[in-house]
Every structure is written in C-alpha cells, then in structure tokens.
C-alpha cells in the first residue's frame, strides 16, 4: 500500500459497517414480514369457510338437516381435506369478531364449517359454491379471496418498502465512499505525482484506492451485517427455534445485501478516483 495514514479514510470501514447494520436489519425485517404474510396467504389458501343458515323451527339439540346435506356434499367432493363444524361458542365469537357487536341471543346463528383444502388436487370453488347452494339453500362458500388480496397487497407493500430502504442505504453508502476516497485522493496529491512521474498508469493508482476501498468495505460490511442480523434476531427469535427453515431464507438476503453494499462502495469510489485522476495531466 503506497497510500497510508489518512484518518478520514480509516473511518470508512466504520461508516460502511454502520450502514451495513442498517441495511441488513431492514432487509431482514422485510424478509420476516414477507415470510409471515406468506404464511398467512398459505393458510388462507388452504382453508374454505362454509356458512349454512339455520333451518327455522329447530331446537338447539336437533341436528340441522341443511348442515347434514352440506357435510355430505363436502365429504363427497374431491380436493378437500379435514372438515370441522365450529361449536356454537366459536361461531358466536367469530361472527361477533367480524360484526364487532354483541349478537342478540334469540337471533338464530348460522352454522360455520371450516374446510381444509387438500394439498394437491384441483378444486373448482365456483362449482362447489353452486352445488352447496343447491344442497343447502342460502349457504355461502368463502374461499378467503378478499383476505388473500389484502395479504398479497400487504406483501407487495412490504417488499417495496424494504427495497426503498435498501436503495436509500446504497445511495448513502455510494456517496460516503466516493467522498471519503475522493478526499483521500486530494490528500495524496503529492504521492500521486510521485507515482505518475515514476511511470505509474491510472490503472496502478486506481488499483491502490480501489483495493483499499474493497478491503475496508469487506471488513466493515461483514461485521456490520453480522450486527444487523443479531439485532433482527431480537425481533424474530423464531429464527433460533426454526433455524432449518428460516436461516436458508435469511442467508441469501444477507449475501445480496453484503454484495450490493460492497459493489456500491467500490463502484462509486472507483468512479470518483478516476474522475479526479483524469483532472491531472
């Protein structure tokens, strides 16, 4: 290393490290949220809810024939898994939860059937809905379409937010690296003159600065990424209990963040050094 002893430039790994903490933390936060939304979407995908209006004039102990017909139909349909009839209490809780107010005790409650979709197998939701309505008139089949749309929109929003934060950090990193290394080029003007006069090409001088930036970035970003991961762990300790599922998810995200940070700092430093060298004769 021909250039040395520049306090500003020695701060570079520290600054890049701090930026790497932020970038990794944000990226892993996004990963967590997207993963959790994905889980909810999967759940919404795997469940159907069937509402069967109660047949008037039945006592609570009677089995509702409409429910029985609906169950028969469902049991005989392909592409469905476990079927569960919600208890009265669960039904009341679910409806109150949705409507947000207490239901009058004398209002007849519909029966709610929770149906798992089979992992595999095509299911024609619309046809099933029609068949159900025929078997138990007035019944409703909900395949969580609205919920899924909301969840998918939330997932897209999370990804966009994560990308925006990452881009912001990358811009800050690029500017910082370019400024710090540019400053160091200015301070090394005399040594650069000596190198030029000794026959060094731009490439040789550039490689000195780029090499320094690369080492600083690798060191700072690696340590910073580890810090960001640890910080995120506090928000998502689940990683430790399910490392086999979640670590393979986090590792590529971290690798990409590290790579982008290193590329951004080295690229911008290189650009600025070259720009400054071109000003010399």
């Amino acid at each position: 290393m021909v250039f040395r002893g520049q306090s500003a430039a020695l701060m570079l790994p520290v600054i890049l490290g701090l930026m790497a903490v932020l970038a990794t933390f944000f990226a892993l936060q996004t990963t967590q949220k997207v993963f959790e939304l994905q889980e909810s979407i999967g759940l919404a995908n795997s469940e159907l809810t069937v509402f069967v209006p109660s047949t008037p004039g039945l006592t609570p102990s009677d089995t509702d024939p409409a429910v029985k017909r609906a169950l028969d139909l469902l049991h005989n349909s392909a592409g469905l898994g476990r079927i569960e009839v919600l208890s009265r209490e669960a039904t009341r809780a679910l409806i109150e939860g949705t409507l947000g107010s207490a239901i009058q005790p004398h209002v007849p409650l519909p029966s709610i059937l929770s149906v798992k979709r089979a992992r595999r197998g095509d299911l024609d939701v619309a046809a099933l809905g029609v068949a159900l309505d025929r078997a138990a008139p007035g019944s409703l089949l909900d395949d969580n379409a609205a919920l899924r749309t909301n969840l998918q929109a939330a997932r897209a929003a999370e990804m966009a937010k994560g990308a925006a934060l990452l881009v912001t950090v990358l811009i800050v990193v690029s500017i910082t690296a370019a400024l710090v290394i540019g400053q160091s080029v200015e301070m090394q003007g005399e040594v650069i003159d000596v190198l030029y006069v000794a026959g060094a090409s731009d490439r040789v001088i550039l490689s000195q600065f780029v090499g320094f930036t690369l080492r600083s970035a690798l060191l700072g970003v690696a340590v910073g990424a580890l810090g960001g991961w640890t910080l995120q762990l506090a928000y998502w300790p689940r990683v430790l209990s399910e490392p086999n599922t979640l670590l393979p998810l986090q590792a590529p995200v971290m690798l990409v963040v590290i790579l982008l940070l290193v590329l951004a700092s080295v690229g911008s430093a290189r650009w600025n050094v070259l720009r400054k060298l071109k000003r010399t004769f």
Binding site: R4, G5, E190, L195, V197, G199, S201, F281
Partner: protein
C-alpha cells in the same frame, strides 16, 4: 516547446511564450530568481502540467495527442528529482528508491542488487531501511536522486538537486549526472547556484518572470526557434 505558456487561474503568466528544443543526449541548466518559473518549466517537461497555450513535444510526439496511458509510458522514461524530494514517508529509503523499478514490474534479485549498489553509491547504503524522516535534508536529496535515476531514464529532470548538500557532494552529484549524460541521458538541472553554472560549461536557460531572457554562451544547442524533441 513552441510558444508555450502556463497560466494559473489565480496567477496568469507563470510561463510566457517559451520556445526551446532540447536535443536528445544534451545537458543544460535552467536558472533564474526564485519564483521565475523553473519548477513550473520542469513540471511541463514531465507532463505534470498542461500548457495553457502552445505545443509541447516529447520524444518527437505532441503530448496533447497522447492518451493517458501513453503519457504514463513517456513519464516512465523520465527521471525527476523534486525540489522538495517527495519521498513517500511511510516507506523505507530502499522502497522509495526501488519504486520506479517495481512499477515497471522489475523486482528480480539483479534489480534488488542494483538498488543496493546505487544506494551505496550515493552514500545511503547504511540507511536503506530508514524512513525518510530519519534522514537529513542532504540524505533525502540523494535518495530522491537515486529514485530518479534507478530506472535508467532517457531524460533526467532535476530541480535544485544540490540545494541541500555541501559543495563537495553537490559536485559529486553533478558528476553522476555527467556520467549519465555520457551514457546518453538528456539532463536538465534547475539551480540557483552560480558557482555550479560557472564550474560546468553547459548551456543555460535563464528565466525571469516566466520568460526566457538570456542564453549563456554555450547555449548553441538550445535555439529558440528550433522545434524538436522537447
């Protein structure tokens, strides 16, 4: 050099309409009062500065038409002794002197022996591992000269190479330059020292406020109207 001028934004007219030609293998002095532009003239010669006006040719080629890599190649054939030495502070004297060789990709045992030999020759054999700050002004000057000549340059540009050494060593250094000159190196020495100018019968370029004012008697080799190598 043909009608070359140099202006700084803050200070115009540092060099004014200077035309000169240094034939390959010649030896000349540049002299003049402090601030006359001697260092600036040398800077032009080692392509450290772009002329504001006029044309500058080195080794027969107009430098304005050279690519940056070609300019780097031209510089690699020059040796420069800076007035303020410009030794790299954190590198040993040995590494400073060996720098041009290393940049040229020469680092064989023979090259290393040659560095040692040259350090011995300039009397710095015992200081090879010292840092520049541990050396006296005169020792630094000798290290700077060793660095300038290590890669056997075609042209040696020396700015006040005897400014910090006593007359005895000054003479010895000038004799070294003469030796190199006899081997074909073109030598340009900027100096204040009238005693040097008198002792050596070489053409002298006199600068005053950026203009060539006078040519010493032996200046036949340096004709103002000539347009040639440098």
């Amino acid at each position: 050099m043909d009608q070359v001028s140099v202006d700084y934004p803050s200070r115009p007219g540092i060099i004014r309409n200077v035309s000169l030609h240094l034939p390959a293998g010649s030896f000349c002095f540049v002299t003049g009062p402090s601030g006359a532009g001697k260092t600036t003239l040398l800077k032009l010669m080692f392509l450290g500065l772009r002329p504001t006006a006029g044309t500058l040719q080195v080794f027969g080629r107009d430098v304005a038409s050279l690519s940056r890599d070609q300019r780097a190649y031209v510089r690699s054939r020059l040796g420069v002794v800076f007035q303020d030495f410009r030794l790299i502070e954190h590198m040993s004297i040995y590494d400073n002197v060996a720098l041009p060789l290393r940049l040229a990709g020469k680092d064989s045992q023979g090259d290393r022996d040659y560095v040692r030999e040259l350090l011995d020759w300039v009397g710095l054999g015992d200081h090879a591992q010292a840092k520049p700050e541990e050396l006296s002004g005169g020792q630094k000057q000798r290290a700077a000269i060793a660095r300038a000549v290590i890669n056997r340059p075609a042209v040696l540009l020396a700015d006040e190479p005897t400014g910090n050494v006593d007359d005895g060593i000054g003479l010895k250094l000038l004799r070294l330059f003469e030796e190199l000159n006899k081997l074909g190196t073109t030598v340009v020495v900027a100096t204040h020292s009238e005693s040097l100018l008198q002792r050596f019968e070489y053409p002298t370029l006199r600068l005053k406020q950026g203009q060539l004012v006078d040519r010493a008697p032996a200046a036949g080799a340096v004709a103002e109207q000539e347009r040639g190598a440098l």
